[in-house]
């Protein structure tokens, strides 16, 4: 006991003495000596950081079964480190502590923030971006520099519950539907029983935005400003919140659900507006639901609107093995790799060449949903799920306006006026 106390006291004293010596070293010194050593032995370890959840299984299989072997011959070993929970928070932690991997995911919505750390390597001249879908490349281009190669993407589509439409005796929604015909169809659904609704709509820009785009509204003008008082925006708000006010639509939270996919699984709503990520959820949570998928309805602009959700691979500027990292990045986004991911039904590839893949035309509900989501990227007004420098705070005023309008606390004009002034303040602060 005595010795232990003395020892611990000694250790702590050393700490105290060392304090002033190191206090200045706030900024991390880079290049970990360990990895330099391995580099010289021609055996390079490339770490990849990405999402938890479903991704580890996908990426680990991709590494093991498709690209691992080829890279190993070149002396490159791969490892995947999932950052579970809040990915962005974990990535910022790792970047600031200097423990981030050589390659990491860059979600499109937080790309500006991540790139602002100065820890993402511009890929111009290192990687050929021409085979990738243009809008995906654009989403990662800032000031002419390309910071990431999209690994896959998603768009929104209408997923409908066939049982409910059958019971109401209404035709399924299809690609010819516009806002009005869709509203008519789902309006009938709400009549077939208590707690049955035509569609589930959250007070969330992530879904509402697609409707605003279909009305012809743009999130940012050339100067980077946002106009919520645009009549087109108001039309979309009227349509979207009106369905909730009339009881045709329901917010998922009103069904005790966190998102519209959850609401869809309760079999109380006819339609969920979601991406292909709903498929895996339905497979587990509502395996017996009979569903179909079709395109977003045509809006008053005569076009559909949609979001592009995507995640890219980026390279750490501090990576001691830049060349190897570029090789790995190319392998991860190679045609071979994307074909594999697609066939596993896991994600939709970012290469133009895969558009005509037979896998998308198999005719099963899941393949059909994937096809609709894939083609959604080329139909009408499609914008990245991105908010410039402001980051995710940008859509808070919009969400809050939608919520207050849906519950009837405020009328549309008052709510939008307030949102506009809040969003202007946010943009002003970010500049």
């Amino acid at each position: 006991m005595k010795k232990l106390v003395k020892m611990l006291t000694a250790v702590l004293l050393v700490t105290l003495i060392a304090l002033p010596l190191f206090a200045g070293g706030k900024q991390e010194k880079q290049t970990a000596p360990a990895s330099v050593e391995t580099a010289s032995k021609k055996e390079v370890q490339i770490r990849i950081m990405g999402y938890g959840g479903q991704d580890p299984a996908v990426v680990v299989r991709l590494l093991d079964e498709v690209i691992g072997e080829g890279l190993e011959k070149e002396g490159i070993k791969l490892s995947y480190e999932p950052l579970e929970g809040d990915y962005n928070a974990a990535l910022f932690n790792a970047l600031s502590a200097g423990t981030a991997a050589d390659i990491f995911y860059i979600p499109v919505e937080t790309a500006p923030g991540i790139i602002a750390t100065g820890k993402v390597l511009p890929l111009n001249g290192l990687v050929d971006t021409s085979p990738f879908i243009d809008s995906l490349v654009e989403a990662y281009t800032f000031n002419g520099k390309i910071y990431g190669i999209a690994k896959d993407f998603n768009t929104l589509a209408l997923h409908y519950n066939k049982d409910l439409f059958d019971k109401a005796g209404v035709a399924y929604p299809d690609e010819n539907d516009n806002w009005d015909t869709l509203r008519e169809k789902i309006g009938k659904l709400a009549g077939i029983g208590d707690n049955i609704y035509g569609i589930s709509l959250p007070a969330d820009y992530a879904r509402f935005g697609a409707f605003a785009f279909a009305a012809g509204w743009k999130p940012f003008d050339e100067k980077g400003n946002t106009n919520l008082l645009d009549p087109k925006f108001k039309t979309a708000v009227e349509y979207y919140t009106g369905m909730v006010r009339e009881g045709i639509a329901v917010q998922p939270s009103d069904l005790g659900q966190g998102w519209t996919g959850g609401a869809f699984a309760t079999e109380q709503v006819g339609i969920a507006v979601e991406g292909a990520w709903i498929l895996g959820f339905l497979r587990n949570e509502a395996p017996n639901i009979q569903y179909g998928t079709t395109f977003m309805p045509v809006g008053p602009s005569g076009e559909r609107g949609n979001f592009l959700y995507t995640v890219a691979y980026g390279i750490n500027t501090d990576s001691p093995n830049r060349e190897a990292a570029v090789k790995v990045l190319e392998a991860l986004t190679s045609e071979e790799a994307q074909q594999f991911v697609l066939e596993q039904g896991l994600a939709i590839p970012s290469r133009k060449a895969l558009v005509d893949n037979p896998f998308l035309k198999k005719g099963t509900p899941e393949a059909e949903a994937n096809r609709v989501v894939f083609e959604g990227s080329r139909m009408g007004f499609v914008y990245g799920y991105q908010f410039g420098k402001v980051g995710t705070d940008w859509f808070r005023p919009i969400n809050s306006a939608l919520a207050t309008i849906m519950t009837g606390e405020k009328d549309i004009d008052t709510a939008l006026k307030q949102a506009q002034s809040e969003i202007e303040a946010l943009i002003e602060r970010a500049k």
Partner: protein, 368 residues
């Protein structure tokens, strides 16, 4: 003099580990927070001195002002209710009856489980189809029967008390023996009435009060008094969990009051309420400062509940100063704003200290 210096060395030896830890993780940390609050540090840049810019920016930020308002309302209301509640329960528990220790343990249960556990349970109960709304529905359904029962009790009690007084006993309006009799009688009466079908349950739709996903405020104006409903939900939960701890502190203080005080007061014809204000309250006065201070420090730092409620509630309805600081330090998707976070933290600290000092002065002068 020599003895003195030897003692100092010994003391420092005993204190060394504590002082080192306190030095690094408290003193150094506080100094650094103050320094950061005058810079534009974001973890990835070289900090630049910006003077008071962060402090002025704070008061232009809508979320900070909301957080400030929420924190103040939260602190005042929760501290008041939980202090009074704890004092009342403690004074009841202080009765010299058998088996009260068992109750004391039961009451302490909410305080031992972690805030996460309690918050998760409450979050579940606050769901739209959750227990709270269900109980409210039941209360409305049974309202006729409950009202009949209360009415019966009132009438029977009045009759009994008047009768006892006629007989020459000094019965009070809340005479316990008569109260028990009238409760039993009216329970039987209510039962008979409902069997005969004279009253029945009301048909009411399920109560659908939205506790969480709402921006409604009570009262809806004025703005500086308006409490968002989700914040009220957290208040209820916090009161529920902290009453027991404070009750124990009060109970410890009340133990020292001799029973003879109460007996003497009774002889002088003091009512229970008079005894509460003239004996119980002064007796706990020394710990009252502590309880109020602890309550205020705890409530002003409220963080866990906001983090756990998370996306189940609109952030601006429940954001507190403590959460604001965390949120600026770890915004997730953007660059951290260490400067702004530090400024808000320093503000929170100064605010807390001012309030604690103020209330100490007030409580002292009030009682003396």
């Amino acid at each position: 003099m020599k003895v003195k210096s030897r003692e100092t060395i010994a003391a420092l030896m005993f204190l060394a580990p504590f002082l080192i830890i306190l030095g690094i993780f408290f003193v150094y940390a506080c100094v650094r927070a103050v320094i950061f609050s005058f810079t534009d540090y974001n973890l990835f840049n070289t900090p630049r001195w910006v003077g008071l810019a962060n402090y002025t920016a704070l008061f232009r930020e809508a979320n900070f002002l909301r957080a400030l308002r929420n924190s103040i309302l939260y602190s005042i209301i929760v501290t008041t209710i939980q202090t009074i509640g704890a004092l009342i329960i403690a004074s009841i528990l202080n009765a010299k009856l058998k088996g009260l220790n068992l109750f004391r343990s039961a009451y302490y249960m909410p305080s031992i489980a972690s805030s996460v556990v309690i918050t998760l349970i409450f979050l579940w109960m606050y769901q739209r189809r959750g227990l709270f709304n269900y109980l409210a529905t039941q209360l409305l359904r049974y309202a006729p029967i409950i009202l009949i029962f209360l009415g019966f009790t009132l009438v029977i009690q009045t009759v009994l008390v008047l009768y006892e007084r006629l007989r020459g006993f000094p019965a009070k309006w809340f005479d316990p023996a008569l109260l028990v009799t009238s409760i039993l009688l009216s329970a039987a009466g209510t039962f008979v009435v409902s069997i005969l079908g004279l009253v029945s349950l009301r048909e009411v739709p399920p109560v659908d009060f939205i506790w969480l996903q709402t921006k409604q405020q009570i009262p809806s104006r004025p703005e500086f008094l308006a409490m968002p409903i989700p914040l009220i939900a957290i208040m209820i939960q916090n009161i529920f969990t902290t009453i027991p701890t404070f009750m124990l502190i009060f109970l410890a203080a009340l133990k020292d009051v001799p029973i003879s005080y109460y007996e003497a007061a009774s002889l002088d014809g003091a009512t229970a309420i008079q005894k509460f204000f003239h004996i119980t309250v002064p007796a706990v006065q020394p710990v009252l400062f502590l309880v109020v201070a602890l309550g205020m420090i705890g409530t002003l730092q409220m963080f866990d509940q906001v983090a756990i409620f998370g996306n189940a509630v609109p952030l601006e309805s429940v954001i507190t100063l403590a959460y604001f600081v965390y949120n600026r330090m770890f915004p997730g998707a953007q660059l951290p704003e260490v400067g702004l976070a530090s400024a808000a933290a320093i503000f929170l600290a100064l605010f807390t200290l001012t309030l604690v000092v103020l209330q100490r002065t007030i409580i002292k002068s009030e009682v003396k």
